[in-house]
């Protein structure tokens, strides 16, 4: 059984709770509150209500006909998470966790953000539920995602710049953890990816599995059968675990996680923790981590801020080790190509993160027959990336 998971938050040998003692009580409290909430029909109805009427779910499963023709093989469907309120899948999780925080009587929220999508999604639900919101964001990411910073501020959040390390997502998580340790009694930490100490990977997965659950029902309705392959990008791995999880026991559905290869795995400048990492502990969990031989964590590199994290969530590590999912990678260049391709064939500008998945799906489709079906999780829209893309392409629209 691939889905095995013990109550201590282990996925095979991965996961766990490697955090300072000061946080243990908060994690135990969170786990208890979560276990009660997730079995409570009232809570689930509340989450469903906001996902439908506030977020705009369900999101369409769209047949990308011109992209399919271009790839010249399997039919490509896009799960349109980019059409969610705030423009990405991140809000599925923040709605759930904010409602959980309210149930726990916490009035303050702290979160980290990389691309800014999780920060915006967190600031949004904090405004919605009247919670005080502090977002930590790396200095480099603030530079790359200036507009998202303004969005968060517009929504009433305080954005704190983190200039430690490379000033990216890893450093923002460190600072958010430090803030949480210091303010643990009245603050809930809304972790945005399928990472961190138990119970976070489980909570994030459960709030993101709506992606896969909807996809399954939609593809059955449209095609009368399950897809042959499901493709999603992986940084920490929240959209991908949400997409994969409902398919894990459907063994004929191949699962592909696409990591960011940055400038290329061989250059060392990438974010591909499966391809280039080793087992270790970061931010509370045992996972594959980019690190040197002394166990110092290395900086991740990717053109997409949302994939710029030097590890991959524990459940993905287990899916990799058990062989249930395959992890591959796409370079910055490949992602840029796919972003343009999807824009021009389908009129959809995807996020740079999602573009990694699109690129791999196009390559995969070419090797598959026309009767086969691929579903790609289009985790977010690309508006936030337009400036980055413009700079990378030198102003030349190819």
């Amino acid at each position: 059984m691939v889905k095995e998971q013990t109550r201590s938050g282990r996925y095979g040998k991965f996961g766990g709770q490697y955090v300072p003692e000061t946080l243990m009580t908060a994690l135990i409290e969170l786990e208890k509150a979560y276990d009660l909430a997730i079995e409570n029909p009232e809570f689930l109805a509340e989450v469903a209500y906001y996902l439908k009427d506030f977020v705009g779910r369900e999101t369409p499963l769209y047949f990308a006909e011109r992209l399919t023709k271009h790839a010249g093989g399997a039919k490509i469907y896009l799960k349109r998470e980019d059409l969610n309120h705030t423009g990405a899948h991140k809000i599925n999780n923040t709605v759930g966790q904010a409602l959980l925080a309210v149930r726990m009587g916490k009035k303050k929220i702290v979160a980290e953000t990389g691309a800014g999508q999780h920060g915006v999604a967190t600031a949004t639900v904090c405004a919605l539920f009247g919670l005080e919101c502090t977002i930590f964001m790396g200095k480099e990411d603030i530079r790359r995602q200036e507009l998202n910073v303004f969005r968060m501020e517009l929504l009433g959040a305080t954005v704190k710049s983190v200039d430690k390390g490379a000033g990216t997502l890893k450093d923002a998580v460190n600072e958010a953890l430090r803030y949480w340790v210091t303010n643990v009694e009245d603050t809930h930490y809304i972790l945005g990816s399928a990472l961190g100490p138990h119970p976070f990977p489980e909570i994030v997965r459960d709030f993101q599995r709506v992606i896969g659950d909807e996809t399954k029902a939609q593809i059955l309705e449209k095609e009368g059968r399950l897809p042959d392959a499901v493709v999603a990008c992986v940084g920490g791995g929240s959209n991908s675990i949400g997409m994969f999880y409902p398919f894990v026991e459907d063994e004929n559905v191949k699962l592909f996680g696409v990591e960011a290869a940055g400038s290329g795995i061989a250059t060392g400048l990438h974010s591909a923790a499966v391809a280039g990492g080793k087992e270790g502990v970061l931010h509370g969990a045992y996972m594959y981590v980019l690190q040197d031989e002394d166990g110092l964590i290395q900086e991740a590199h990717s053109i997409s801020a949302g994939l710029d994290y030097p590890a991959i969530g524990p459940e993905h590590c287990h899916l990799h080790e058990s062989g249930r999912a395959a992890y591959t990678s796409i370079t910055d260049e490949g992602a840029l190509e796919a972003l343009q391709l999807l824009s021009q064939t389908e009129g959809i500008i995807p996020a740079l993160e999602s573009s990694h998945a699109v690129q791999y799906a196009v390559e995969l489709a070419a090797d598959m027959s026309k009767e086969e079906i691929i579903v790609v999780c289009l985790s977010g829209r690309g508006d936030k990336d337009v400036e980055t893309v413009k700079a990378a392409l030198g102003g030349d629209k190819s």
């Binding site: 201590s8 766990g16 709770q17 490697y18 955090v19 300072p20 003692e21 000061t22 243990m24 009580t25 908060a26 430690k164 390390g165 890893k170 460190n174 953890l177 430090r178 340790v181 210091t182 303010n183 643990v184 009694e185 080793k278 087992e279 270790g280 502990v281 970061l282 931010h283 509370g284 981590v289 690190q291 031989e293 002394d294 166990g295 110092l296 964590i297 290395q298």
Partner: protein
């Protein structure tokens, strides 16, 4: 040195009428070649034991002062392996217990058994792993027991009574009582219930209770020391050593002396 000697050093200190004083230093801040000199200096001015911090890329339990000291050490290429080797090179001169404070990941990459053996051979007798809570200690327990190295547990203000009982029951060397909710660093005040918290800890623990995090002045050493068996001072020592201000280090250590009326 054996792990029992950590407890014995603290108890001997208390019998003399003093509170234990354990300075935290960042190994390799100022260069690894300074380590011997710093340790011998601290030993000479009468510290009870020394907590030797290992620099790490992602020190989530540390405040800005120790983070920066760690960055300085990392920039000089200081690693866990180098620190263990360096301590081994002058172990015969060291008479106070040396306790390493390192995050978990460098130990995992070192190899837990190999690390424990190398520690024993370097005269290191205790270990503090700030990101290894009670739930996860099985990962290192056997290797440390075999090498006779104390795993010193942290107890926080947020730890509920049943948890405190479990943690202290397994405690070796001493109990590290975290005196604030938060990270290491300099602070003005402490929670009102700190005295009660420390006294409860002392009541249930069979090993001494040392208080740490946020203790940075001689007044705080005296005050917090009066509730515990001793104190751990980090950021203030790191700053003073970085500035070459040895007087401040001595003053902090002296504030722990003769605080128990002798009969």
């Amino acid at each position: 040195m054996t792990k029992k000697q950590i407890t014995e050093a603290i108890q001997a200190c208390n019998r003399r009428g003093d509170k234990a004083f354990v300075p935290y230093i960042m190994a390799g801040d100022g260069g690894i070649e300074k380590l011997r000199e710093t340790i011998l200096f601290l030993q000479k001015i009468g510290v009870t034991a020394i907590e030797l911090g290992i620099p790490f890329s992602d020190p989530v339990a540390d405040g800005p002062i120790i983070q920066e000291a760690g960055e300085r050490a990392l920039a000089k290429g200081v690693t866990l392996r180098l620190v263990v080797e360096t301590v081994a090179s002058f172990k015969d001169e060291v008479k106070v217990p040396i306790i390493l404070m390192t995050y978990l990941n460098p130990i995992i990459q070192y190899g837990i058994e190999e690390f424990a053996d190398d520690c024993r051979n370097s005269g290191i007798s205790g270990l503090i792993i700030p990101d290894l809570p009670y739930e996860e200690v099985d990962l290192v327990r056997d290797a440390l027991t075999n090498a006779d190295i104390a795993l010193i547990p942290l107890v926080s203000l947020t730890s509920p009574p049943e948890r405190i009982e479990k943690i202290t029951a397994a405690g070796e060397g001493f109990i590290y009582a975290v005196t604030v909710n938060g990270i290491t660093g300099v602070r003005d005040g402490f929670e009102g219930q700190l005295e009660e918290h420390l006294q409860k800890l002392k009541a249930v623990s069979s090993v001494p209770v040392l208080a740490g995090f946020g203790i940075s002045t001689t007044e705080q050493v005296e005050l917090i020391g009066s509730f515990a068996d001793g104190v751990i001072v980090g950021s203030a020592i790191v700053t003073a050593l970085h500035d070459g201000d040895l007087k401040t280090v001595e003053k902090l250590v002296n504030a722990s002396k003769n605080k128990i009326p002798t009969i």
